[in-house]
């Protein structure tokens, strides 16, 4: 794995952004796709923030090689990061918001705004609400049910672009451009497996009598769906007021 292997979604989202020479914050680093994209596009520094220790390790392993001086992986909550005020030129949130419950949106928007310089840019990439007939909804619904039982919060929430635009507008961000990254979204067998794995993770924390059927249902759903092309992934590019 290297900074060469950047998904088309990330490349397209960053295509018209000034990345070279900029200090960037990747909010919700995940497995590092956008971090890789920012580094490949010549970012001066990338702060990759995640609250998941495994993700932090994955990102370091995937893109850390040869980028020691440019990559800073930070394990922290995005509602309160250790980053300085007004230090970042470009914030990216690629696939972050759909894993955030509604109550976290505003505090995270506030924190991202605090660390961003005046006139900085923000790139938000996320999924539109999947069409009601989509088969993947069954798996996502199961995932959310498991998450609510275990954590008392949903695992996934799909926000329409207007909702995220409104949340960030409250903090001084204006949408400069909207673009469709994927249409349709290809939910491959590998993606569905990964979602079933999340269900399995929750099930492991429940008594077997509840956990085992949950896991079995997830596996059955993955087998039944196979793969599906549905919904869209969109991209919003914001600018912060001076």
């Amino acid at each position: 794995m290297s900074v060469d292997d950047v998904p088309e979604t990330v490349t397209a989202a960053l295509a018209d952004q000034q990345v070279e020479g900029r200090v960037c914050l990747e909010a919700g680093a995940g497995v590092g796709n956008t971090t890789a994209g920012l580094l490949a596009a010549g970012a001066e520094r990338v702060y990759a923030v995640t609250n998941d220790a495994d993700h932090a390790v994955t990102v370091r392993e995937r893109v850390g090689d040869g980028n020691a001086d440019r990559l800073v992986v930070i394990e922290a909550d995005l509602r309160a990061t250790p980053l300085a005020t007004d230090g970042v030129d470009l914030v990216t949130a690629h696939g972050l918001c759909n894993v955030l419950p509604p109550v976290e949106l505003d505090p995270i928007a506030a924190e991202l705004t605090r660390v961003a310089k005046p006139d900085s840019r923000l790139v938000v990439d996320d999924y539109g609400v999947p069409p009601s007939g989509a088969a993947v909804n069954r798996l996502f619904t199961l995932e959310n049910a498991a998450a609510r039982v275990v954590d008392g919060r949903p695992a996934l929430t799909f926000y329409p672009p207007a909702v995220l635009a409104a949340v960030f507008a409250e903090h001084g961000w204006t949408v400069e451009r909207k673009k469709t990254l994927l249409d349709p979204v290809p939910w491959t067998g590998a993606h569905l497996d990964a979602h079933a794995e999340v269900v399995r993770g929750y099930a492991d924390r429940l008594p077997d009598v509840v956990g085992e059927p949950l896991t079995a249902m997830a596996e059955d759903l993955v087998a039944a769906i196979g793969s599906e092309r549905t919904g869209t992934m969109y991209n919003l590019a914001f600018r912060l007021a001076d």
Binding site: M1, D4, D5, V6, P7, E8, T9, A12, G30, V31, N33, T58, R62, H94, G95, N98, T180, L181, L182, D183, P184, V185, P186, T188, A190, H191, D193, A194, H195, E197, V198, S227, R229, T232, M233
Partner: protein
Amino acid sequence: METRALGDTGQESTVLTFGSIALNWLEQEGANQLVELVLDHGVNHFDVAPTYGDAELKLGPKLRQYRDDIFLSCKTQKREYEGAARKIDRSLDRLGIDTIDLYQIHGLEYEDELDTITADGGALDAIHEAKAAGKIDHIGLTSHGNPELILDAIDRIDDLETVMFPLNPVVAGKNDGEYDYEAVLERCESEGIGTLGIKAFAKGSWPPTDELAEADRPYANWYEPVDTPETVRERFDFAAAQGLDTVVSPGDPKLVAMVLDAASRSEGMDEARQRAVIEEARHDDSPVPEQLHH
């Protein structure tokens, strides 16, 4: 069917080129019918090679009948003067025509081949001589080799007018240099070099021969092709949307009608869908840990 300028050759090729290798698997009567079908769809660019069995011979009769409607490209795998000169005459003879519109150095794979081709007494001398004698009209190159090597060939062959190379969603999803045919495409666009896409319909390699004997393969392609109307259409639209001047049809005659239909009815493909197709292919064989997101 849509036509596009084939680089600066002056030729307007249909966005689908007929890969005449498909004729090799048909009797003469069937070959004639297939050529008629292809022409009925408006296709005006045919590609052939002496290495495709009897394809040149089987193309001959209809090619001669419709000579003015067909832009014919042919190829040689010979790297030295003697061999290439002989192949040009042999192809002209087997096709039964006086001029090949586009003659391509076929299957360039190694740097030292390029040295041989461009050296004194190399294939390029024979091609230039044939051009001066009116036996060929334009000069091209084909390769599924390293994109760097193709770029090198563009630098070293001054009068190169077209390049044929692989392009499909699997190739487009690989960002490492070994598969960077997009760089070739860009270079060709900027230099007015025509582009022909191959392997647009490749789904993957055939299973190993101990699992599926060569004789049992359902299609006569070098790779396993996509073979439903939807997937064929998607692959055609994808390849055409990348900006290739023309896309070469697959080698099995059974797929040609489906591809003709796709090319005739094509309405293009927007970028969000192109990305979706690439991302889907990329995840099919991604080494990256399981991911929830795109």
